[in-house]
């Protein structure tokens, strides 16, 4: 039997050439595809969520702090509340609150949250209160001066609320603010006429027909009740800081009523209370515009900020 060896050898060469071509094609494809990466998933949702959590936490602390200022400070006889607590009271309540907030945050988001009072940036002040409306705006030490000073050389007065009787039983009172050169004043006369920075010889700014008027002087608002024309006004307009505040009686007698006032003292200002006896005006140390250090920390975000609450705003 004869075997065709030539044909068998040709087939082997074809296989070799085919394998070589296939290897070349695969090598070429590998070379070209090497380095090509398709779009990777670049999700960083954790950091976005953390930023939203931090912003929400900061807003909640701001809101809660505003409420805390009202509830921590002792109530007063004029407005029924105060936004000016003592530093120690605020610090103690804030520590407790921060603990609760931290526990809530760890439970909800896993983040560490802390809020502490910033003593260096929180302003110190004195809260002056005349609680007894029967004593009214008369100088508390019993002297018969026609005017007397309640705040000296201050850069800020907040919570200056005057409750003045307008039932005709007294005469009137003027609150004056002066820097030594320019003076701004507000006069309430017991018959209901009110003058904002204008002479009592002219037409009144507004007239109320109720038995009393409550004026938030530092906020420039007639809180209750208001009459025609009793809109908003600018406290101490045109007067530069620091300034003094003093009361002036009208026509020999003082108006009946009571008042409160927070005076910033850490920049050289002073509130002048007397505290001579029961019912007399007195002062107590308070914080004004407290600043709280807020910390939010989780795996994607570290956040710290100073949160200042303006105590001049109504709660």
């Amino acid at each position: 039997m004869v075997t065709d060896r030539t044909a068998r050898r040709d087939r082997g060469q074809m296989l070799l050439v085919g394998a070589f071509i296939i290897a070349l094609v695969i090598l070429g494809i590998v070379v070209m595809l090497n380095g090509i990466e398709f779009t990777e998933n670049v999700g960083n949702q954790n950091s976005i969520t953390a930023a939203e959590d931090a912003a929400r936490t900061q807003q909640m602390i701001r809101r809660d702090l505003r409420q805390m200022l009202v509830y921590v400070g002792p109530r007063n006889e004029v407005t029924g509340y105060t936004q000016f607590p003592a530093a120690d009271d605020l610090d103690e309540n804030l520590t407790t609150y921060s603990g609760y907030r931290a526990n809530m945050s760890v439970g909800n988001t896993g983040a560490y949250v802390n809020a502490t009072l910033n003593d260096d940036r929180t302003h110190e002040g004195e809260f002056l209160v005349e609680p007894d409306p029967s004593i009214g705006y008369e100088k508390p030490d019993g002297l018969t001066d026609a005017s007397w000073q309640v705040a000296d050389d201050t850069h800020a007065v907040q919570g200056f609320v005057m409750n003045v009787s307008t039932d005709g039983s007294g005469s009137g009172v003027t609150a004056n603010v002066t820097d030594g050169t320019t003076e701004w004043n507000l006069t309430v006369i017991s018959d209901g006429r009110i003058y904002v920075n204008k002479s009592t010889g002219t037409a009144p700014t507004c007239t109320v027909s109720t038995d009393y008027v409550l004026v938030n002087v530092s906020a420039g608002e007639f809180t209750h009740p208001s009459g025609a024309g009793c809109g908003e006004f600018s406290f101490a307009e045109g007067v530069t800081r620091p300034y003094d505040v003093y009361f002036t009686r009208r026509s020999g007698t003082w108006a009946n009523g009571n008042y409160t006032m927070a005076v910033r003292t850490d920049d050289g200002g002073m509130a002048l209370g007397f505290g001579a006896g029961s019912g007399d005006a007195y002062t107590r140390p308070v914080v004004m515009n407290p600043v709280v250090d807020v910390v939010f920390e989780d795996s994607a975000l570290s956040y710290e900020s100073e949160l200042e609450v303006n105590t001049s705003e109504q709660p």
């Binding site: 040709d10 060469q13 050439v17 070589f20 071509i21 070349l24 094609v25 070429g28 070209m32 595809l33 090497n34 380095g35 090509i36 990466e37 398709f38 779009t39 990777e40 670049v42 999700g43 960083n44 950091s47 976005i48 953390a50 930023a51 939203e52 931090a54 912003a55 900061q58 807003q59 600043v291 807020v294 795996s299 994607a300 975000l301 570290s302 956040y303 710290e304 900020s305 100073e306 949160l307 200042e308």
Partner: protein, 152 residues
Amino acid sequence: MRPRDQSRGISPAITHVLTVSISAMLITALLLSASGLFREQRERVARQQLNDIGGQLSSQLDRVDRLSQSGTNVSATMRTNYPSSVAGRPYTMWLTSQGDTGLLYLNASSLGVQVRIAVANQTRIEPQRVTGEDIRVITEHSAAGQYITIRN
């Protein structure tokens, strides 16, 4: 008459050389045409990926910018992670501003691809150039005021 020899003029060696040569020419042509296609594909992928990265980073800058407005003396660091390369090539990011408008340039220079992303910012931008992968989006307070930037 002897039958004609069917294998006349045919050499196995020449046959193989021709086979390999023609195959090599065809494969070379295929690779050359495919390489152009892949180059375009790579640039397109790189551009798309830079757009994705820039969009995300712009969004994170926006969040940090909002945080910087949330209080005074704000200090915040957002830790993010991005691919170290796009289409297999390294890239850089450049945060800068033009007037009040923040701009983020992402550049894969070896591919000749650059994209520009607008950044919505209220806070001043401190220009900074970084490479990909671990990036921190930062807002801090300095003597010149609050600013936002990016750092590796």
